[in-house]
């Protein structure tokens, strides 16, 4: 009975603690000058440092989507421009954001949780608090802000590189000409598509960084605890990316 009670209460307890963490962080910030430097550093780590891996993954996603679309759809009865019409909206609406999200969950989420978890178990967070600093505001807010600011940048990068990769694959495999690919993409361009992708990227940026900060900040149990937080941060971030992806699609499309 106690175990069942624990299982039921635990998620609510975590949700409440997560909400309190965010409210404590954003409501007692103090002077921006204290956080400015940290925000710039985090923007570099979350955003700039992630560009190569995001670009690589996006290029391959675009190329693979093109090749698979060609394999499934191209026939004498379907114009080849359909490849551009499928690949580009797919990247804008879904792949650009989701691929970037998964990469950041693994790369950035795990790093944030490991950093904060190590700071927790080595009493560095206690040291910040003991000095009279709002440790949540100092450590967590710049990371979440960096996620919200830089994720859209990464999303745009992923879409552009993904379209480039798709086009390159189309030309290299000779399934469609550059002109046909672009014509297909332009004819089926949805004005709301990039807006939807940007909204998703803001949400994903918040989800990944806030969950990872939460996992790291409340790490318990030494090196083993840091390992556990790191893994959980990546896994839970991925789950919530998928959930929020579905919710946003249902609400906004």
């Amino acid at each position: 009975m106690a175990a069942l009670e624990q299982r039921l209460i635990r998620p609510l307890y975590s949700l409440g603690r997560y909400a309190l963490l965010l409210s404590k962080g954003f409501t007692s910030l103090g002077h921006f000058s204290v956080y400015r430097k940290n925000l710039i550093v985090q923007c570099g780590r979350v955003g700039i440092d992630s560009i190569p891996i995001v670009a690589l993954a996006a290029a391959f996603s675009g190329a693979v989507t093109t090749v698979q679309t060609a394999y499934q759809l191209v026939s004498p009865f379907i114009p080849p421009s359909v490849i551009g019409a499928v690949v580009v909206p797919s990247l804008i609406l879904e792949l650009g954001a989701i691929v970037t999200g998964f990469i950041l969950a693994g790369r950035v989420g795990a790093r944030i949780a490991a950093e904060l978890g190590t700071m927790r178990v080595t009493e560095q967070i206690d040291a910040l608090e003991a000095m009279g600093l709002n440790s949540i505001g100092y450590l967590i807010v710049p990371r979440i802000m960096a996620g919200i600011i830089m994720f859209p940048v990464l999303y745009v990068t992923a879409v552009l590189v993904g379209v480039g990769g798709g086009l390159a694959a189309a030309v290299a495999t000779d399934v469609v000409s550059t002109g046909e690919f672009i014509r297909g993409a332009r004819e089926n361009y949805l004005v709301f598509g990039p807006m939807f992708g940007l909204i998703k990227s803001f949400v994903f940026g918040f989800v990944i960084t806030s969950i990872s900060c939460y996992m790291g900040y409340y790490t318990e149990g030494g090196a083993e605890g840091v390992g556990r937080s790191t893994t959980q941060a990546a896994v839970i971030s991925c789950v919530y990316i998928l959930l929020s992806d579905l919710v946003l699609a249902l609400v906004l499309l």
Partner: protein, 194 residues
């Protein structure tokens, strides 16, 4: 004055502190001795509100720190310097920046003033030559001394030391004990050691 009144604390049903009371007067140096796991660190963390007691209260200069807002608690904490067991130096910063951190954060000092103050603090713990080194490049004794320099950087009214000499060789332990004694005389602070 720090006044701990009848505090009790349990973790997962295990009582760590039971009805503990103590008073630390202005300018006094007080040592708390006990076997490992007897709750000395827990008691110290209660003194600065890092932990909340299940029962009882902690008064700092007559203010019940369990009944004030987080913002007010942070103001109270700024009167403290704390030396944690493992030093708790920020490993992303050099020794110099660790000591400079509270000065840059809580004062309007110019970079030259920060530099002068940090060098003075490092000199106080006989480590004026390790400023550029990261914590990972320092020995255990050096880490504690840099942490001590950081703890006194803002010239706090109270300094709390959590096992300042544990795990150190006798020579370094003596050095740190002398530093603590010297700081108490020099800065006229109230110290709590465990």
């Amino acid at each position: 004055m720090i006044c701990v009144e009848n505090i009790s604390k349990s973790f997962n049903g295990r009582a760590v502190l039971r009805d503990v009371s103590l008073e630390m007067q202005e300018g006094e140096t007080l040592a708390i001795i006990g076997r490992s796991g007897s709750g000395k660190s827990v008691l110290m963390k209660h003194a600065i509100g890092l932990l909340q007691p299940d029962k009882g209260r902690v008064l700092v200069d007559g203010i019940d720190i369990g009944r004030i807002s987080y913002r007010e608690l942070r103001t109270v904490r700024r009167q403290f310097g704390v030396l944690f067991q493992g030093g708790a130096l920020f490993d992303s910063m050099s020794a110099f920046d660790n000591v400079a951190f509270p000065i840059r954060t809580f004062t309007d000092s110019t970079e030259q003033q920060v530099r002068d103050r940090v060098l003075r603090c490092l000199d106080l713990v006989n480590l004026s030559d390790v400023g550029t080194k990261r914590p990972s490049e320092l020995s255990g004794g050096m880490i504690k001394r840099v942490a001590l320099a950081r703890a006194v950087a803002l010239e706090p009214r109270y300094i709390l030391y959590d096992e300042p000499t544990s795990g150190l060789d006798p020579h370094t332990s003596t050095t740190i004990n002398n530093l603590i004694k010297g700081l108490a005389d020099q800065l006229d602070v109230t110290s709590g050691e465990r």
